[in-house]
Amino acid sequence: MAAALNAGLRRALEDNEKVLLMGEDIGTLGGVFRITDGLLRDFGADRVIDTPLSESAIIGTAVGLAMRGYRTVCEMQFDGFVYPAFDQIVSQVAKLRKRSDGVFTMGLVIRLPFQGGIGAIEHHSESPEAYFAHTPGLRVVSCATPHDAYWMIQQAVACDDPIIFCEPKSRYWEKGAVDLEHAGIGLFDARVVRDGRDVTVVGFGSYVKTLLRAADAAALEGRSLEVIDLRSVSPLDMDTLVSSVRKTGRLLVVQEAPHTASIGATLVAELTRHCFYDLRAPGLIVSGYHVPYPISRHEEVYRPSVERILDGVDRLYEYDA
């Protein structure tokens, strides 16, 4: 996936000379995850910019550059370091198009390596997507495969709205086929990655793979899970979600972020509204616990696992009784 992101960024830089990259250590070093490896060499320091260590300024100057017609892809080194930029994101990036009656185009992308699972120390495994999804004016997407990484980053750069681009850092090193000709799907569409009859299970980022494993395991017990990769966390692709839940009658949302005021809660609330008569059980959520992300020795307990997902499926079936 890292290579796919790199290739996608490279194409974005080639296709539009107004595209810039900014971030801490993204140039000479190629980023701590090497996502931008080689891009400084090929596009120069005017376009691939190693910045001082100030996240608020990375976003704030990207706003100014956007006003000047540039499109900046900002790398936050880790999820936990986006918060110093929260004010610029929420007060300016999200609102400036509206405040200018559509004159300012905030076509910038904020790349966020997110979710845990790499054994890191504190502040390196946050799942802050709900903060941004709650904020009108922003869009939030997440890629789960190399193919999507390659295409979604390009689609995000091309989009005239500001996008929080969440990259599941634990999947950076995973391999997968990339169709270099066709994206095949829009940036804001959910994807049914496995058809199923009995339960709709929804996730994004690193959890898509976990869900597929859970579906394999459930199949052994004779339960057919329909796996949906949300891809767009905000806005939600309700059509795809509603038709799946109408079919299965059961909904399980899996996310790493805690439950309160989260995407999972929104999915449950919205799908309950749209599929009230179809649901055989309340939509349930398997999420991280309501604690700060734990020490990494506990992360496999904290993070939704195949086991916890299957447990969630069991709980859904309890309502059949």
């Binding site: 810039l20 005017d46 910045t51 001082p52 100030s54 608020s56 300024a57 976003i59 704030g60 100057t61 990207a62 706003v63 100014g64 550059l65 956007a66 006003m67 000047r68 017609g69 540039y70 110093p84 004010d87 610029q88 007060s91 300016q92 609102k95 198009r97 509206k98 405040r99 200018s100 009656d101 559509g102 004159v103 300012f104 185009t105 076509g107 009108p136 004016g137 869009r139 989009c159 005239d160 709205d161 806005p235 939600l236 309700m238």
Partner: protein, 354 residues
């Protein structure tokens, strides 16, 4: 140079010599600055009156800061781009923004008011110091475009304590961005005295970030103009950023919601009346350039006309249809926007057709 307050006109309007900064303005140019200051003060007072009558939700008067704003505003060239905070109505005037448009925000019929690209003048920024980083980014864009223009950004003594203000200094220096940081030190952030923000003149901040800082008499329009012009020229020529602290005084309330008697003494305000920026220039024009009553009266009359136009235009501003709240939130289609529009129609809260 930092500790010294650059002044080219005494409070009595007498020219003061300065080793490095020279008054380059001829009589006509000085008269034009006078006219500007008279107009923006008059317009400001009209806005205050409109607010008192309930026609505006709020107003942030510029009284006392006319020289700082007009001096800086007139130092700009057309291609330069300016990023205001929320009180720079005088700069907006210099950029050609129609005065009524400036009041749209305060009449709460718009959260903007004008097209920034028409005037090379950005929209107001309420969240203190946010705009300073936008200014640096915009200047970095100019650099990349090879555009020999500069950016100026305005901020207050209070805003100088925000992280964003200080990060903007770091970045401007690091990228040698063509930007002038213009601080109107009007000595208060609402009730907070500038001494709470800094124990030394704010202009001194600059040197520690690697660029020059100048402290200028903010009630001396000529000094402000000349110092700002030099800084902008330096920026355009690739010389990097400059910090200018215009030392002035906010004669009015912070906004029409504020009661300054709670935190400052009349005596102080009285003292600053003697440093009035308009009277100072008037004295110079009278004594050195033989301007007379006809000219001064003419400026007043013109200002009066503009004020009446402003009043008329503001009172004519109607509430836009509520459905417009869904416009321009996103550039591309968004289901929640469609849903909101539908909801408003179902509730009958809009006149717009689907």
């Amino acid at each position: 140079m930092v500790d010294e307050l650059i002044s080219l006109l005494s409070p009595e309007g007498e020219p003061l010599p300065h080793p490095e900064v020279v008054n380059s303005l001829n009589a006509d140019a000085l008269a034009a600055l006078y006219r500007d200051m008279v107009i923006v003060r008059r317009l400001c007072n009209e806005a205050t009156a409109l607010q008192r009558q309930g026609a505006l939700a709020l107003w942030a008067p510029l009284l006392g800061q006319e020289a700082a704003q007009i001096g800086a505003g007139r130092a700009l060239q057309p291609r330069d781009f300016a990023f205001p905070s929320y009180r720079e109505h005088g700069v907006a005037w210099c950029r050609g923004v129609p005065p009524a448009d400036v009041l749209r925000l305060f009449r709460t019929v718009s959260s903007g008011g004008w097209n920034p690209y028409t005037y090379n003048y950005a929209l107001p920024t309420i969240v203190l110091a946010n705009q300073m980083l936008h200014a640096v980014g915009y200047a970095m864009g100019m650099q990349r475009d090879g555009d020999p223009a500069a950016v100026i950004t305005f901020f207050g003594d209070g805003a100088s304590s925000q992280g964003d203000a200080l990060e903007s200094f770091v970045w401007a220096s690091s990228f040698n961005a063509p930007v002038v940081f213009f601080c109107q030190n009007n000595q208060f952030g609402i009730s907070t005295p500038v001494t709470t923000q800094s124990r030394v003149p704010l202009a001194e901040r600059a040197r520690g970030f690697g660029f020059p800082g100048y402290r200028v008499d903010g009630n001396d329009v000529v000094a402000v103009y000349e110092v700002t012009r030099q800084a902008l020229e330096r920026a355009r020529a690739g010389g990097g950023p400059t910090l200018i602290e215009a030392y002035t005084y906010r004669m009015g309330a912070h906004t029409t919601s504020d009661d300054p008697t709670r935190y400052r003494l009349d005596a102080e305000v009285e003292m600053w009346k003697h440093r009035d920026p308009i009277e100072r220039l008037k004295a110079l024009l009278t004594r050195e350039h033989e301007y007379h009553r006809t000219f001064f009266d003419g400026a007043d009359t013109e200002a009066e006309t503009l004020a009446m136009d402003l009043r008329r235009d503001v009172l004519a501003m109607e509430r836009p249809d509520p459905i417009t709240m869904f416009d321009h939130v996103y550039a591309e289609a968004h289901p929640l926007i469609d849903e909101g529009r539908r909801d408003l129609r179902d509730l009958g809260l809009t006149e717009a057709l689907s």
